[in-house]
C-alpha cells in the first residue's frame, strides 16, 4: 500500500465528513440569516480564518498523538482503552516536572524538559500496565478502564498533595515557532509520517501487523510476539503521555477538576484511529477533522450564529455515526484482546 493509495482510501470517508459538515454549516447559515450572498461571504470569511486552522491543528495534535499510540497497540493485538488515563498522567507529570524545575515561572527549556519527562514517566507507568496485560493476561477492556479511573483519581490526588489544589498554578505554555504554529504541531506531523513509514515499510512494522493478525505466524517466523506487544503497548502509553503533555504545554497549567483538562480527548483518540481504519495518516486526518469540527463550532458561536452550542457540539459525534454506518467496515485486527502464549 503506498502513501498515495492510502490517502485515497481514506479520502472518501474524510471527504464525506467534510462535505457533510460544510452542508450543515451552510444550512445553519442560510436558515439563520436571510442574508445576501455578499454578507454570507463576509461571514464565511470570518469563520474560516487562519486562526481557525491553527486552533484546529492545535486541538488535533494531542488527539492524533494518542491515536497513533493506540493504533500501534491495537495493530499488534492489544486494545489499549486506557489512553484517556495515560493522557491524564502525561498532562499531570508535565505540569509537576515544570513546577519542580521552574516553580511558577518556568522557562521554555523547562517546558521541553517537562514534555520529555512526562513522556518517559508515562512510558514507565505503561510498563506496569503492559506486564499486567501481556504477562498476566489481564482483561484489556477492564484494565484499560481501570487506567482511566486511576488517572482520574491519582493525578488530582497527587496534584492536591503538591499544590494543595487539584489544579496547578499557572506555569508556562510553549512558544510558537513558524507561522504562529506550535512546535508540537510540526512534531506531530513528523510523528505521523514516521509512524506510517515504520508500520508499512519496516520489518518491525510487519511484525506489529502480524502480531495482531496472526501471532502464531509471527511466532513460527521466529519473532517473539510478546516482545513486539510490549514494545507497542509501551509506545502507546508514551504517545498518550506525550499527547497529554503537549496538551498541557499548549494550555500552560494543569486542571484536575471534573473530567480533568483532558476531558475525553483520549476517547476521541480511540475513535480517531478506528475512524482512520488503523492507518496512522487516516487517524491523524480523523483527529484533525474532529479538531476542525470542534473549532468550527467555536467559530459559529463567535460570529453569532445562534445555534445552541450544546447541540452544535454534538455534530462531530453524529457525523461519526453517519459515516460509520454508510461506510462501515472498520476492520479490527483479528487477534485483538487475545493474550498470546507461545506453546510451552
Amino acid at each position: 500500500m503506498s502513501l498515495a493509495e492510502d490517502v485515497t482510501r481514506n479520502r472518501v470517508r474524510i471527504g464525506t465528513l467534510l462535505v457533510l459538515s460544510l452542508l450543515v454549516g451552510s444550512a445553519v447559515l442560510a436558515l439563520r440569516f436571510d442574508v445576501s450572498p455578499d454578507e454570507l461571504l463576509v461571514t464565511v470569511r470570518r469563520i474560516f480564518t487562519y486562526g481557525f486552522i491553527t486552533r484546529s491543528l492545535e486541538m488535533a495534535t494531542p488527539i492524533a498523538l494518542a491515536a497513533i499510540g493506540g493504533l500501534y497497540a491495537e495493530k499488534s493485538g492489544v486494545f489499549n482503552i486506557g489512553l484517556e488515563g495515560f493522557m491524564i498522567f502525561g498532562a499531570f507529570s508535565a505540569a509537576a516536572t515544570m513546577y519542580f524545575l521552574g516553580g511558577t515561572s518556568p522557562s521554555q527549556g523547562h517546558v521541553w524538559v517537562a514534555v520529555l519527562a512526562a513522556t518517559i514517566v508515562t512510558a514507565l507507568l505503561t510498563v506496569v500496565f503492559a506486564v499486567l496485560l501481556i504477562r498476566y493476561k489481564a482483561d484489556q477492556i477492564v484494565a484499560g478502564l481501570a487506567v482511566w479511573f486511576l488517572g482520574l483519581g491519582f493525578a488530582p490526588f497527587t496534584a492536591a498533595v503538591i499544590w494543595g489544589s487539584r489544579s496547578s498554578p499557572g506555569l508556562e505554555s510553549v512558544a510558537t515557532v513558524a507561522f504562529g504554529q506550535s512546535p508540537f504541531v510540526l512534531l506531530t506531523v513528523l510523528v505521523v509520517l514516521a509512524s506510517w513509514v515504520f508500520l508499512y515499510r519496516t520489518q518491525y512494522g510487519y511484525w506489529v501487523q502480524a502480531a495482531g493478525e496472526n501471532p502464531e505466524a509471527l511466532d513460527t517466523a521466529g519473532i517473539d510476539v510478546n516482545r513486539v506487544r510490549y514494545a507497542t503497548v509501551i509506545f502507546s502509553g508514551a504517545m498518550a503521555g506525550l499527547g497529554g503533555a503537549v496538551l498541557l504545554a499548549h494550555a500552560g497549567n494543569f486542571v484536575g477538576t471534573g473530567e480533568t483538562m483532558v476531558d475525553g480527548r483520549g476517547w476521541i483518540g480511540i475513535v480517531a484511529y478506528l475512524f482512520g481504519n488503523y492507518n496512522p495518516i487516516g487517524a491523524a486526518a480523523a483527529a484533525l477533522l474532529f479538531g476542525a469540527l470542534d473549532m468550527l463550532n467555536v467559530q459559529f458561536q463567535t460570529v453569532g450564529i445562534e445555534a445552541s452550542a450544546r447541540l452544535v457540539n454534538l455534530l462531530p459525534y453524529a457525523a461519526v455515526i453517519v459515516v460509520l454506518s454508510a461506510w462501515g467496515k472498520t476492520r479490527m485486527p483479528s487477534s485483538v484482546g487475545e493474550p498470546y502464549e507461545s506453546e510451552e
Binding site: T202, Q203, N214, A217, L218, A221, G222
Partner: protein
C-alpha cells in the same frame, strides 16, 4: 544402523511427549533419509502433529533426542529449527491474511536497506525460488493472502519455508483442503523438491497419496510408532491394518436400492457467492426416499452455495427449493430445520459446534425449537443432556463425557457427535457436506456405515464430497458439479474414478455429438 556416508536428514530417537496425563508420543523413533519423501500416517490423535511440533521446536520433548543432518540439536523455538533448516507447513496456515504474499514470505527474515524493507531484493529472491520450482506464487506477490485460493496459500507457505532455507520440509495434512487438481500439482511440487535434494515429511490420512508419493511410510498409533515400510512394498490394506490394528474393508457397500417418493426438489436454482458472482447457474435436482445423491466436484464450483441454498443459510437469487412438494425457497434457516432438513456442515469447527460449549450444550445446537428440548421457548436441559448421552453412546464419541468441551474432542469425534445430533432430528432429508474431511479411518468407516443405514431406512441423503472414493462408495447417483452446473449425472457402478475426475475437470465423458455444453444436466 545404516553406514551410509550421508547422515539421515532427520533422526528422532526415543521421543516422548506428554501433555499432563496424555502421552501424545511414546518413545517414537523416526529416520528420514536425505532427498526422500517420508509419509507419516495415523488416525486422529495418534500423535503425528505433536511429533512434528517437537521436531519444529514448538514443543519441548520430555525425552528423546533430535538429530538433523547428523548433528544433535535442541530446539527452543521454531526459530532454532529454521536455522537448522527445518520448515513446517501447518494444517492451519500460518499466514497473516491482510498482508501481501511478499510480506508473508519474508516475515521475520526481511531483507533491509537503510532500515526499510528492501522489497526489490525480496521480490527477486522469491521470483528465483518460484521459477526454480515452477510456482505461480510470484504472480500474486502484491495481493493480500486472504484474496487467494487455499491451494495458492499453501504454496505461499512452501515458498516461505524455502525462502528461509528449509532443507527439511514438514507438511501437516497438506492435501486435506485441496481440490484433486491442487493435490496433483502439490504432489508435483513435492517430487520436484525431493529431486532437488530436499527431504519432506508428509502427514496424510489418505493412503493412496502416501503410497503414490512417498518413499517410506511410518505409521503411528496411540502415540507409538508401529513401523516404517518402504512405499513400494506396502499396500493400502497393510497400512490400514497398521493404523487401526485390524482389517478394514474398502469395497463398495452393497446396495439394494428401493427409492420412494421424491423428498427434495431443486429447480432452476441460481445463487451468488460471497464475492457477488453468480456461482450456481440454474441447477435442478431431485432426491428420493432411500437414496444417496452424491455431489462431486472440485471445491469452488458452487457446491457450497448450492448446499447453503438448500439449507437456508444463503438467500436464493432465483429458482425454487421444495420439500415434499411444499415450496421452502423463502423459508428461514430455522423453519427449514423444523421442516426436517438436517445438515452436517462443511466446517465443524466454526459451524457445527460451539467450541467452548460442553457437549450437552452443543446437543441443543439446531434443536432450540424442537420438543422435548424446548417448549414455547423454555428449555429442558435434562432432556438435552439425555440426548447428548444418547449421541455419545450410539456414536461412540470419545471421551464419553457429556460435560467436556467440544474443543477438546478430536476432529473425528467432533464429527461423530455432529452426525449423531443431526440424525437425532429425525429429518426428512440429510445434507452432508464433506462428512469425513480430516477424520480418521475408523471414524470414516463408522460415519459411512451410519449414512448407508439411514439410507436403507428410507432417508433421502445428499452427500457433497471432493473425495472420489467416498462418493463412489456412498452414492447411488453421482452428480458432478462444474462451474455452477451439473455437468453430468453418472451411475457409480458404471464409471471409474478417473472418469469422474475428468468430469470434475470439466470434460464430458463422451464427446457428445450435439456439442451441447452450455446446458446443465438435471439430477
Amino acid at each position: 544402523m545404516t553406514r551410509d556416508s550421508t547422515p539421515p536428514a532427520v533422526h528422532l530417537e526415543g521421543i516422548t511427549k506428554r501433555f499432563g496425563d496424555v502421552v501424545a508420543n511414546d518413545d517414537v523413533d523416526l529416520t528420514v533419509s536425505q532427498g526422500s519423501i517420508h509419509a507419516l500416517l495415523g488416525e486422529n490423535g495418534s500423535g503425528k502433529t505433536t511429533l512434528m511440533s517437537v521436531l519444529y521446536g514448538l514443543y519441548d520433548q520430555n525425552e528423546g533426542t533430535i538429530h538433523v543432518d547428523g548433528k544433535p540439536r535442541t530446539f527452543e523455538s521454531p526459530k532454532d529449527a529454521m536455522e537448522a533448516g527445518v520448515g513446517m507447513i501447518h494444517q492451519h496456515f500460518q499466514l497473516v491474511k491482510p498482508m501481501t504474499v511478499l510480506q508473508n514470505v519474508v516475515l521475520g527474515h526481511e531483507p533491509t536497506e537503510n532500515g526499510l524493507v528492501d522489497e526489490a531484493a525480496a521480490r527477486e529472491e522469491i521470483e528465483a525460488i518460484c521459477s526454480r520450482y515452477d510456482f505461480d506464487v510470484d504472480r500474486h506477490l502484491d495481493s493480500p493472502v486472504e484474496e487467494l485460493d487455499l491451494g495458492i496459500q499453501q504454496r505461499v507457505e512452501i515458498v516461505k519455508s524455502l525462502y528461509r532455507g528449509a532443507e527439511v520440509l514438514i507438511l501437516d495434512e497438506p492435501t486435506a483442503v485441496l481440490t484433486p487438481q491442487e493435490v496433483e500439482s502439490l504432489i508435483d511440487v513435492m517430487t520436484d523438491l525431493r529431486d532437488d535434494g530436499r527431504s519432506l515429511i508428509f502427514i496424510t490420512h489418505k493412503l493412496d497419496e502416501a503410497l503414490s508419493v512417498a518413499d517410506e511410510i511410518t505409521v503411528l498409533r496411540d502415540g507409538e510408532a508401529v513401523g516404517t515400510v518402504p512405499a513400494d512394498e506396502a499396500t493400502e490394506q497393510d497400512l490400514a491394518r497398521m493404523m487401526v490394528g485390524r482389517e478394514v474393508v474398502f469395497d463398495r457397500l452393497s446396495r439394494e436400492t428401493s427409492t420412494g417418493d421424491s423428498v427434495l426438489e431443486v429447480e432452476e436454482l441460481r445463487m451468488r457467492s460471497d464475492r457477488g458472482r453468480e456461482s450456481v447457474h440454474g441447477v435442478d435436482l431431485t432426491v428420493r426416499e432411500g437414496e444417496i445423491l452424491g455431489i462431486a466436484g472440485v471445491q469452488g464450483n458452487g457446491q457450497s452455495e448450492l448446499v447453503e441454498g438448500i439449507t437456508g443459510l444463503r438467500s436464493v437469487e432465483d429458482g425454487a427449493v421444495r420439500l415434499r412438494g411444499t415450496e421452502i425457497t423463502g423459508m428461514s434457516r430455522r423453519d427449514r430445520i423444523e421442516a426436517g432438513i438436517a445438515y452436517i456442515p462443511e466446517d465443524r469447527q466454526t459451524e457445527g459446534l460451539v467450541q467452548d460449549y460442553t457437549l450437552v450444550r452443543n446437543a441443543l445446537l439446531g434443536n432450540q425449537t424442537v420438543e422435548p428440548y424446548a417448549d414455547d421457548g423454555i428449555l429442558d436441559w435434562s432432556a438435552v443432556r439425555r440426548h447428548a448421552e444418547e449421541i455419545i453412546e450410539e456414536f461412540d464419541v470419545q471421551p464419553p463425557n457429556p460435560d467436556t468441551d467440544a474443543a477438546s474432542l478430536s476432529g473425528g469425534n467432533q464429527q461423530k457427535f455432529i452426525v449423531g445430533r443431526e440424525i437425532g432430528h429425525d429429518p426428512e432429508v440429510m445434507i452432508a457436506s464433506h462428512p469425513t474431511r480430516g477424520v480418521d479411518i475408523g471414524s470414516i468407516e463408522f460415519i459411512h456405515n451410519r449414512l448407508i443405514e439411514l439410507r436403507d431406512e428410507g432417508l433421502a441423503i445428499v452427500v457433497v464430497s471432493s473425495k472420489l472414493e467416498e462418493i463412489r462408495k456412498l452414492a447411488d447417483r453421482i452428480a458432478v458439479m462444474y462451474e455452477g452446473e451439473f455437468i453430468d449425472i453418472v451411475d457409480p457402478e458404471a464409471v471409474t474414478e478417473e472418469e469422474i475426475g475428468l468430469l470434475m475437470a470439466g470434460q464430458s465423458l463422451e464427446e457428445t455429438s450435439d456439442g451441447e455444453t452450455d446446458r446443465g444436466v438435471q439430477a
